[in-house]
Amino acid sequence: MTHFNRRQFGFLLASGAATLALPTYLRAQAKPKVVVIGGGAGGATAARYIAKDSKGDIDVTLIDASEMFTTCFFSNLYLGGYRDFASITHGYDRLESNYGIKKITDYATAVDRAAKTVTLADGSTVPYDRLVVSPGIDLIYDSVEGYSEEAAQIAPHAWKAGPQTQLLKAKLDAVKDGEQIVMVTPPNPFRCPPGPYERASMMAHLLKSRGFANSKVIIIDPKEKFSKQGLFEEGWQKYYPGMIEWYGPDVHGGIKSVDAAAGSVETDLDTFKGVLLNVIPKQKAGVIAAQAGLTNETGFCPIDASTMRSENDENIFVIGDACIAGAMPKSGFSANSQAKVAAMTIRSELTGSKAFPAKYSNTCWSLIETDDGVKVGAQYAPKDGMIASTSTFISQTGEDAAVRKATFEESEGWYKGMTADMFG
């Protein structure tokens, strides 16, 4: 039971419905091949679900440039001192040994959509029948005047977890009492909407726990409002009075430029200075998505809401932060959820397994202070060609301490579950 939308149906007619409707393994005798670019929340989940549920009938290759994956989710807890770096870093070994997935540690540099191959940095090519593109985000450094990849070595973005996160942690640990941290947060849409504000909370927590109550975290935001704003602002007032200052565009009047070496951010209103500058610039889909011609004018990839299939190529699925997922936020949870819809669709096309109507879900937990967790979440389904939300919830201000503690413990349980779901 394979569902095609009108656009794909047009393609079917053009290419000969009879041949395409047959599972690939009946046309070619070889096992069908799925290649997944990107081993994060979307890619690792897609690879694992396709391999696991096809029980060896599909050849799955996972391409990621890293040997180990550091999760962006919970990386703020590492900054706050709640987690060590090893606890947010995971290997691909079980995906290889338990699910027969072939892991290639290299960059995917190009996709030849006509030949259906992926080119690697070493020049070799990997053929596919279906391709899952899950490259996450790339940063548009020059969206902030004065910022660059080089400047990120002084003023880390730490918006892709890994060495940048460790760099930010080292700089954070060096902050002394009375010194100031300045954050520049990104415009929409961006990875992990509550992330910058959880990060500010974790920075303040660390400073406060060291007795540095005279230090400050200043947030210069290009947006007029942000995710879980009421919850964060309530928590900041309660736990970190005077330590976190947030300025929207109606106050600062616009971000003109940053100077990483000087640690300064120039706005219409004033120049803000800190010993630590954390600049999170505007974002776009991971560069391979644009190279493969899967992006539109937004820099992200349009997809079919009921399958996660690229609107530009019927053999390619784009999931996670790189895609335009309607009402879904860019989060690891969303990517994991989208991966399961893509995996089900791909298996049904390649092996004839059952396909069911797409359903998506997301929950984002944030930690404000020890044992004070909050959450926001929703369920989603395709509606009028878009992924639309069908029900939502958010933590309430003024909740009692037991509820907040339970919410934090739930987030820790989710982390274990989520990483087990990604890496086996």
């Binding site: 979440g377 369920q379 939502t392 349980g413 274990k416 087990a420």
Partner: protein
Amino acid sequence: MLRFFRQILSRTKWLAAAFAAGLLLCSAQSLAADASRGEALFKACSQCHEVGARAKNKVGPHLDGVFGRKAGSIEGFKYSSAMKRAGDGGLVWSVDAIDAYIHKPRSFIKGNRMSYRGMESDQDRADLVAWLEQISLKKPSADANVPSKNAVVGFATAVLEIEGDPDYGAYLSGECVTCHQISGKADGIPSIVGLPKDYFVRSLFEYKTNIRQNEVMKTRVSNLADEEIAALAAYFSSLTPQ
């Protein structure tokens, strides 16, 4: 204190034990166990465990005859492999062992399915164990693995009539296993693997009807049709925890 008595009783001659007990009682009267308090404390356990006359297995095994029983040994109950290993390794439910397990369930047997976080107070545990010692002398139900008729009530009974499609359940389960681990491990989020169908269905309906309050679950469940709940129940009840 109760633990200490037991240890002594099991290891020394009666006279010596009585002598030691006599000495200790002088300074330890405040720790005397109160079984009636224990009965009230058991309310937290009764969500998952039955004990007393004709007790049945629910989410957790019944507790009749638990003292002196090998861990993980009730016929037909789906234990975690961690619990079965512990039993095979010689764990028998003594007062000490139950006390230690209830104190810190997750660290006492790593990887077990019980999602209870633990009872901190020594006094509470002593009271609970004292009550359990009395009540668990009763005989369990002859068919302890057949669910109670009243496990599911109201609208939820209609769901039990539906033959759930396990394939559909397997797909829908993708939404559950992001948090509830497919291995059956409970690390801060309850294990739902191998859950009896009726308790699975009842739990989801308790979210639908606001008896259970978790917002994540209420949101997930609000859009689930009866066929979907039946499919999920069919799928998860068919699994065995690792």
